[in-house]
Symmetry: C2
């Protein structure tokens, strides 16, 4: 079991910054005028500035909001596998999510959702599209047969507070999180990146809220990009992100380990494993991202 100190648990699941800022309001069928489409729904959301980096909303935060809308639409409430394709940059402000049920089975259901914002000229612009299958995590058996081992991250007090990193530390989202990077993957802050394409750290909310399946979607895309560890600066926008939620996380901080094996032709994958405080692998994710502005001195 990992060792971690007592946290300032100022918030709880359902009553936290994350819950407030990912809240959706589902319109009634009368309001949408869409009574003919069974299983489709429209939701209002607000993109909060607190989860941005250089004015652009974090992809994991947007995925969590959209996943909440799907949980409200589908007969099952837990995301099992969620894929988002990011189409255009999402800015703070109002957003509308349109969701629909694609297919229902007894233990799994599949849905689709899109998040839109209104451009200055009044046209609706799609920001991301999501395809996802939901189920009931509490219905899964406890059988575990796995070769995966938790990442070896030093205790929190020996890790590097993400807010200390120049540039990255200035992002709005960093203040909402209590993120502590493994010093072995934080060399880019002090000018000596390890060159392995790895990023590892403790992930917690600043207000002490415990993790749930929706916060795992955020955790999958919250660490600094692995390209920093490769000595490359530049924007690394996500093209596509897929998260598998494998288990409901236990209370306490998460550990996230991200690896890139292949940076080629200006694209890279980022594979993340997320572990809970009971040493269980609770989520796996992979994203395809693009490295803009090219390698620096590489």
């Amino acid at each position: 079991m990992p060792v971690y100190g007592a946290r300032m648990a100022l918030a709880s699941i359902g009553n936290s910054e994350f819950d407030r800022d990912t809240a959706i309001t589902s319109r009634t069928p009368e309001a949408t005028g869409d009574q003919g489409h069974q299983g489709s729904a429209v939701h209002d959301a607000h993109i909060h500035e607190g989860w941005t980096l250089l004015g652009a909303a974090n992809g994991g935060y947007l995925l969590a909001i959209t996943a909440r809308a799907l949980a409200d639409t589908l007969p099952h409430s837990d995301p099992f596998t969620v894929t988002a394709h990011y189409l255009s940059v999402t800015r703070p402000g109002p957003a509308v999510i349109r969701s629909s049920t694609v297919h229902r089975r007894r233990s799994l259901s599949t849905g689709q959702a899109s998040l839109f914002q209104t451009a200055e000229d009044g046209t609706e612009v799609e920001r991301l599209r999501v395809l996802a299958t939901y189920g009931d995590l509490d219905a899964l058996s406890d059988d575990v047969r796995t070769t995966a081992k938790p990442p070896g991250i030093p205790p929190r007090e020996h890790c590097f507070a993400a807010g200390d990193g120049e540039g990255f530390g200035a992002a709005e989202i960093v203040a909402r999180l209590d993120m502590r990077l493994d010093p072995a993957t934080a060399g880019w802050v002090t000018g000596g990146p390890a060159g392995r394409g790895e990023m590892r750290g403790w992930f917690d909310f600043a207000d002490g809220r415990d993790p749930d399946p929706f916060s795992l979607l955020l955790a999958a895309d919250a660490l600094p990009p692995t390209t920093f560890d490769l000595g490359m600066v530049g924007w690394v926008p996500t093209v596509e992100l897929t998260v598998h939620v494998r288990r409901r996380p236990a209370p306490g901080p998460l550990r996230v380990a991200v690896v890139t094996r292949n940076l080629a032709g200006g694209f890279l994958e980022e594979d993340a494993e997320i572990w809970d405080s009971e040493d269980r692998l609770v989520a796996q994710s992979r994203q395809l991202a693009r490295l803009l502005n090219g390698p620096s001195g590489a």
Copy 2:
């Protein structure tokens, strides 16, 4: 460079069993009566018995067909990241694919497609839904910065012909492929599975057709399930499969290495890397699958 013997190249890209059996015919806008929807299209396809296992069409084969329909719809022709959610079992026979453009950018475009079959009562049943982003593989730079190494698979002549495996060898799809399993991951055939959750092998078409981006989608889902290496029998249907195509493959056989790190609660991930004859990582895939009938003697 891997060593492999001269192949019986009876077929070429565009003129092979795989091309014939993944062909789609796009209906004209007049025929679809859907002229109002710019960027949407309808395609006819035929699911061939040669790509089935116990009467069910292989998921990678279905993904390749659907990806071809999207290539016909989108302004870009190469799949970069493709996600399929499998909704119901696809049987040999006619199918209809409905595709649409979601978003266009200069170098990437995103689309969506669904494959349907008609049930005995005449209703249309959706088999899989796909969300994908396409680009131009030939426009990517040659820069490669990677830590990934090709899998250590013995030469083909020292590998295990997949058709020799009982049960698995009886599948229709095995006859269409020239698949040679690494003996280290083929112990399940002789009764001694290694218990690591790995499956590796050479992948080639039986008619010698060279690989292309669409055949990589098939290769990502063609090896026997990793559960065999864990000593478990039973059906392992795919819930969701995502493939990243990272490079156009060179001519010659592929090597595919699949690993499962986490089998828990009746679900498992299968991560595949696909390497071409020039030792380049040409595709990465991950699927979430379900283990039915439970573990046997595990």
